[in-house]
């Protein structure tokens, strides 16, 4: 997948981190999904799994879907998303920790915000909620769904010391949201060191 390889080149899905999914069919739900534990820099298209709404593999693969598949499925349901992307960048990792106590991070006043779906002006305040990280996926999926309902306008969220989730109506829009949010997280993160103090 060109998207995965591009994120790998930027250092957003190093190791076997990150995962990508795209809706192929809605009823019944069929999600094309990156398998667990693979190197996104060398991912042949044939390795993409097809999973159902319970995160069971329905294609002929013996690979396992990512542990985080339930999060992708819930984002698809809650937001009607056509694609869900998850990256582990340096800046999302750092800012998700620095701002965790406030429960989220506000990004406002940047022209780049206009690239988020439905945003028409830089005079926009994007609230990026931050969830505590957890290995209990059913519980995490529940608290994530609750958070998405509370923050209907959010275009993404952070898992603490873990990374960014964002989505879009299709893969192209989701990829655009990754690039925009990663850019803004880097800008916010560096603006702290440029001004000699963290940007809180």
């Amino acid at each position: 997948m060109a998207t995965a390889a591009g994120f790998y080149r930027r250092g957003w899905v190093l190791g076997t981190s990150g995962n990508l999914s795209a809706v192929v069919e809605r009823d019944p739900l069929r999600l094309a999904m990156t398998p667990s534990g693979v190197d996104k820099g060398a991912l042949p298209a044939g390795h993409i799994l097809m999973i159902d709404e319970e995160a069971r593999v329905v294609s002929k693969h013996d690979a396992r879907p990512s542990d985080e598949s339930p999060l992708h499925i819930r984002v698809v349901r809650e937001r009607g998303a056509g694609a869900v992307l998850h990256t582990h960048s340096i800046w999302s990792t750092l800012l998700s920790d620095l701002h965790a106590d406030r429960g989220g991070l506000a990004i406002e006043g940047y022209e780049m915000l206009k690239g988020l779906a439905g945003v028409k002006t830089h005079e926009h305040r994007e609230w990026l909620p931050i969830l505590e990280n957890s290995q209990d996926m059913p519980a995490l999926a529940e608290s994530m769904a609750e958070m998405l309902r509370q923050h209907q306008d959010a275009h993404g969220f952070l898992l603490r010391r873990h990374g960014l989730y964002t989505w879009g109506s299709d893969l192209a829009q989701a990829k655009r949201h990754v690039e925009i949010l990663e850019f803004l997280l880097e800008a916010v993160g560096r603006s702290g060191s440029i001004a000699g103090k963290p940007n809180l």
Copy 2:
């Protein structure tokens, strides 16, 4: 366009940000221009629009020209430029905010300045004016034109929390100006954190 793809690789036109234009004919004005809302990392040459002096599309495309086309057209008129390039880098975004209260940013004493058209020595002081960002394009084009007349020697300017505009007699010179100004903005930005305080 190789120029757009190169800027994308450097992270200067992520998402759908940034736009590029080049004069094809001067009378009547015909400007080749990147369309609105496209990914500059994957822009086929056939998607470049042709617009006139009122920013109307005159080629057979159903795409929309960038909202910022009026700025490109005014730069062409005010400066006689052959190409206008606009990037959204991290450093132009951060410095345009940090220096906004002073109305601009002075860059001086760097050898790299010699790459700007007409500059013969590093003992040059480049004043990069900063304009408040706005979504009111006719008003912004007016204040930009006024600013260009006041700063006849400027090789570019910044829009606050938005990015860099620069231009050149042709696309090659404009691309050189982007690389030089982006380099200098990064140098100025990092010189603040290297010295433990912002470089104001």
Copy 3:
């Protein structure tokens, strides 16, 4: 080797720094190893040496194995590793110095840690031991072996102002460990400047 070229592109094996080895046979030990003093950005596959357990070249090459071959051989023996990778990145260089007085560096709480072999949760504390650098290879190999026995759970270690060593059951796992540890070192390093103080 694609792995070497990839590390070169990320700036982890610039100059002639860094070296890579992979076990070809265990009994007697045969290790495929990068030669001394070569540019990893332009390393033809045919230049890889085969060495034995005494670091003698057993393939038909007149190149010399890396001076650090004894370290690779000892890691293979102590850990049963199938591949050993050594990088000289900016962040491993800086943090190996900053944390040298404490004898190591703790990295904990990051989701990325789950990419290390056997780690199942982000609630893991990875202790990355730091050894003083030395040109006396037999002595360094001894102190390294002693350190590996004391820190049975370590997935890698740092040489002070020198770089990172890590390994894996095969080359793919070792490469994954490099990417994960380099990511985490960069995160730890930048978290100091983002918070306005070193992260000690």
Copy 4:
């Protein structure tokens, strides 16, 4: 030239900055040299000039040699170098300014130093002299030659707010010296911000 394109990708010769030369013949001196004012990211091999010991073009080109050709010629004479490389990176630009008052910059204790010709241990202290920048090339060439005689062991030097010069017995060694010195300059530069104060 692959070397120029590689430096361009790393951002060390942006705009039209930087230049490269290699000795083709010693008596009479014939130096292959990048022309003035070209984009190193798109430099066809056929554009390389041949110049003599007075920096006159002796090949059939109407391009001009770089203004800094006299510096290259003097380095070749003073050091017996086979290739001379000059880059304008962010870190060489910043450190050449920060350390200018001391007349140079000491780099010591890094394993990476071993990649410099003749250096056998990390317990080496490399003194990188810094010269004031000037557009008076004959005068600059004289003060540079004087400096090279005073610092017989130096593998390179900095021009203030301008960049790095280094050389080698051939192009491969000179390229290695660029990568090593650029790495070390970045390490020294970042070690200041990581420790919360400039590294003076």
